[in-house]
Symmetry: C2
Subunit: 422 residues, 2 copies
């Protein structure tokens, strides 16, 4: 962005807001984000991130990265183009097995895939780096675009054909070592959803497992725009999804009772899954144990879509005036709105406060444009930055600035010193 470290003048921001969303956009999250100039719709299910949208996305990514590093994750960046050879080994190259492939061709007509997930590529890669039990456990993750050829793509940035995903894969020597990490990852996920501001409405949700575990876990955020139905035990802060709702074992395993569950629409913002040796056996990823015996590596996978999280936040927190960002993911902490112009006292006071805020390390968007106050406030509401500081005639004269909380609408008068001390 054209910004001086943490500050940016709005006159320099290229995006414009608009009153109407594109006629073909049915998802509330995309409607608002397009109107506010955070994203641009290329075509159904394909969106660009514009400066303000990219700032929010990068804040979410930053939080996820910190939590993945804290549990021992090592970051990589794998390719989109996929070699059919590894996918044939796992049996997932076939379009009838995986029905959301995008495929393309080299000039010699040999086929390539666009990665929709990376178990195959990473498992094959790890055969060069894991050979002994001493090399385990390992946790490897990336932030990378996935491509999924969805038939319908009507949920805005919550389900797109091309979307950024954090996918972590764990490599353990056995299910005991695996489960120790699996639980750590679940806690890290809870930390992430709390930190981005949707902790209260997000539930660890029991879902069906696979050959190597009875259950997997989804992280489901209660949200009208969600595509799933979950059943929540509010007291225990856990839920079950539709797949396992009628499975008596899940009640025995969790200690919840069907009668206490509350049905809700929800959006899956993350999931964690025990893969076992499904991919390590198919792709030859094994290690020698302490006795020298070759054993397949025991794996898990852990996904979060940062853009889906962003869309979910919009669905949950926006109001009829526009976006409302939690502080941790807001593009800026402060929206400084000047009602002055052409070097008048108001503009001078606003310029001075802007300089002070930047100096103090506050992330601030400074609306230094010459527009009507009403237009500026409406646009400020649409952008959804948590705190608005208004510099008008009064403030210039008295040094008391109007400070508006975007989420609650609360207005307070604060001095320069009070603002900078906050």
């Amino acid at each position: 962005m054209s910004k001086t470290s943490n500050g940016m003048r709005q006159s320099q921001l290229f995006t414009k807001t608009r009153r109407e969303a594109p006629a073909d956009e049915v998802a509330k999250n995309a409607q608002l984000l397009v109107r506010a100039g955070y994203i641009h719709k290329e075509m159904a299910g394909v969106y660009d991130f514009l400066p303000l949208g990219l700032l929010v996305l990068n804040k979410i990514i930053g939080i996820i990265r910190e939590e993945m590093n804290a549990i021992g994750g090592e970051e990589v960046f794998l390719s989109t183009l996929q070699d059919p050879a590894v996918w044939k080994k796992s049996g997932r190259w076939n379009d009838e097995v995986v029905d959301i492939w995008f495929k393309t061709q080299l000039k010699n007509n040999s086929e390539l895939g666009l990665g929709n997930t990376h178990e195959e590529a990473l498992t094959a890669l790890m055969t060069e780096h894991i050979s002994s039990y001493k090399d385990l456990p390992r946790y490897v993750y990336q932030f990378q675009n996935k491509f999924r050829n969805e038939t319908r793509a009507k949920s805005g940035i919550m389900r797109s054909r091309e979307f950024i995903m954090k996918d972590l894969y764990s490599f353990s020597k056995n299910s005991t070592q695996h489960l120790e990490f699996y639980e750590k990852a679940a806690v890290a996920y809870e930390n992430i959803f709390r930190r981005v501001g949707i902790g209260d409405t997000t539930y660890r949700t029991f879902a069906s497992g696979g050959s190597f575990s009875t259950y997997s876990h989804e992280f489901q955020t209660v949200c009208d725009a969600g595509e799933d139905i979950i059943y929540i035990d509010e007291a225990k802060r856990i839920a079950v999804n539709k797949e396992v709702y009628d499975d008596p074992d899940v009640y025995a395993a969790t200690g919840i009772t069907k009668e206490n569950l509350k049905e809700a629409k929800a959006a899956e913002v993350g999931n964690i899954f025990t893969l076992g040796t499904r991919f390590s056996e198919a792709l030859g990823l094994s290690f020698k144990d302490a006795e020298g015996k070759a054993t397949p590596v025991f794996m898990g996978s852990y996904g979060i879509g940062p853009a889906r999280v962003m869309g979910t936040i919009v669905e949950l927190m926006s109001d009829d005036k526009g976006l409302v960002w939690p502080a941790a993911v807001a593009p800026f902490a402060v929206h400084l709105v000047s009602l002055g112009k052409d070097g008048d006292e108001i503009e001078k006071a606003a310029d001075a406060l802007y300089a002070d805020l930047v100096q103090a390390g506050v992330e601030v968007l400074y609306d230094d444009r010459d527009l009507r106050a009403g237009e500026k406030f409406a646009e400020s509401d649409l952008l959804g930055i948590p705190m608005r500081i208004v510099v008008g005639k009064d403030a210039a004269a008295t040094g008391a600035f109007e400070v508006v909380d975007r989420a609650t609408g609360t207005v307070a008068k604060k001095s320069r010193e009070e603002i900078l001390a906050a």
Copy 2:
């Protein structure tokens, strides 16, 4: 990465080094980077970035980002999937016009492209944000994967089928406003190449222009692995490429003389290009001037491939022992190599120095593994971190650590205080 802020224990790094490069890898940069565990080859022309490689790539990206922000660039992130409609308007959808397309299909069989550049998408997008001369100039850039269906891909990460690129596009009201930025961008490029450590061998190189300017400019780094031939005026620090070498006008324009030029092989690490109104006219991007007259926006494009820069650095600076990173792009500043084990005095001294370095904010990779000294030193040379600090029996006893400069091999004895003060 599994690291405590700026420090990482090598026992936690999942990548292993190897003695031999893959048999099918002919490029020196990829041979060394694969051997050192910085990258993994998925297939010809497609590479993954592993933890150390991603650290280097991100350092280069960080430097480019700073320089783009400093000249007013605003960062976005556009989609890979491309709508044929906009490319048909510019005439570049046809495979005979652009012969490096990767294309794919939606389920309804309609075709999509994978972005090989983003003039079309961004120009179409900007029609929603530029309408008046007051909206100009604007500078918009991204770091994003490009896909190019190269027939041959034998230059390692210097020319791949999928590669990250920084592409900036400028939008100006006329060629005067354009040229003012074009020159600023050229200076920013020179800053970038100097900062990443290849400034001395990189030349602003005159290349053929287009309909809207006589010349474009390449930034060419003298390098045996380069695919281009350039002709250098050493005193003036500029060069011309093959296209314009026989054009008398270029000598008139630059004041250089053919006789003084020195021929060299070079790698193109960046380019800047005046696009004029080629794309704005095709895609309807115009603005109203002060008199209210609609006028097409005057554009420029500015590219750098961070991975190509990384490959070029490897080609230029590595030696027969391995990689040699300039400080600004090294994955870590210090490689701390302990020769101790199992809680002995040496290991305690190394642990203490590691804690001190991390505390002091030094980026340090700590080789805490129990391996032979010779093996550790050979691997340290291969990894190419600028400064190696060895903790052996002597250091533990006397507090004088052996400090080795990777580039020169110079060895010095330094105390803890001297190391931390540096």
